[in-house]
């Protein structure tokens, strides 16, 4: 079974500072990894994904993440955050199976950007 651990429940950061949101996963097989963002009272929006290829993945809104297989991590980073980045971020893992696949989510990290 797969599982995801987001190591920080809340991350406060000042505007224009860099930020890293940490995500570790456990799985006995190869997986695919995702980061989603959720603004208040809204659904989930895909930020970026790792399916294969380069371990450094770039997404929308200036976010990027690095897949580290040996450390089973997929940390999300942004070099300079804006007030508008305040939201909750979810790391998720999946694997392709012919009879269906599902996303397993972490508990989420609330990013609070302060001016």
């Amino acid at each position: 079974a797969q599982s995801v651990t987001q190591l920080d429940s809340q991350v406060p950061v000042f505007e224009e500072a860099p930020v890293e949101l940490r995500c570790n996963y456990s799985s006995s097989v190869s997986v695919y990894l995702f980061w989603y963002v959720q603004y208040p009272n809204q659904g989930l929006q895909l930020l970026l994904k790792y399916l294969s290829g380069s371990t450094l993945v770039k997404g929308i809104n200036g976010f990027e993440a690095e897949f580290n297989k040996s450390q089973t991590s997929f940390h999300l980073r942004k070099p300079s955050v804006h007030i508008s980045d305040t939201a909750e971020y979810f790391c998720a893992v999946s694997r392709y199976m012919e009879y269906g696949n599902k996303l397993v989510f972490g508990a989420g990290t609330i990013l609070r950007v302060k001016s």
Partner: protein, 115 residues
């Protein structure tokens, strides 16, 4: 191109009642998944529908059932509502084959409150 649409956006029901939530997938997608997101938690997988059949199911009781129609839209039904069923219910659609089929696009969700 319309994304994933869900209805209604909000719903208040009384304990013991039954509820039906609806979802239309993103154009070109043939697979629909449902997730429950309780307050302060990450989304939990309920089940997935493909070709009008339940393909995979999470750890939810039989009170949760679903249906997929020939046009790929889907319904989530919950019987005998409990206070603990209060949550944001998210629909996600996906399509294609291989790893790309693990990428899910989410709707805005239906906020269900059981009183």
């Amino acid at each position: 191109d319309a994304g994933v649409t869900q209805s209604p956006t909000h719903l208040i029901k009384t304990r013991g009642q039954q509820v039906t939530l609806r979802c239309s997938p993103k154009s070109g997608h043939d697979t629909v998944s449902w997730y429950q997101q309780a307050l302060g938690q990450g989304p939990q997988f309920i089940f997935q529908y493909y070709e009008e059949e339940e393909r995979q199911r999470g750890n939810f009781p039989d009170r949760f059932s679903g249906h997929q129609f020939p046009n790929y839209s889907s319904e989530l039904n919950v019987n005998a509502l409990l206070l603990g069923d209060s949550a944001l219910y998210l629909c996600a659609s996906s399509g294609g084959t291989g790893p790309q089929s693990t990428e899910a696009f989410f709707g805005q969700g239906t906020r269900l409150t059981v009183v």
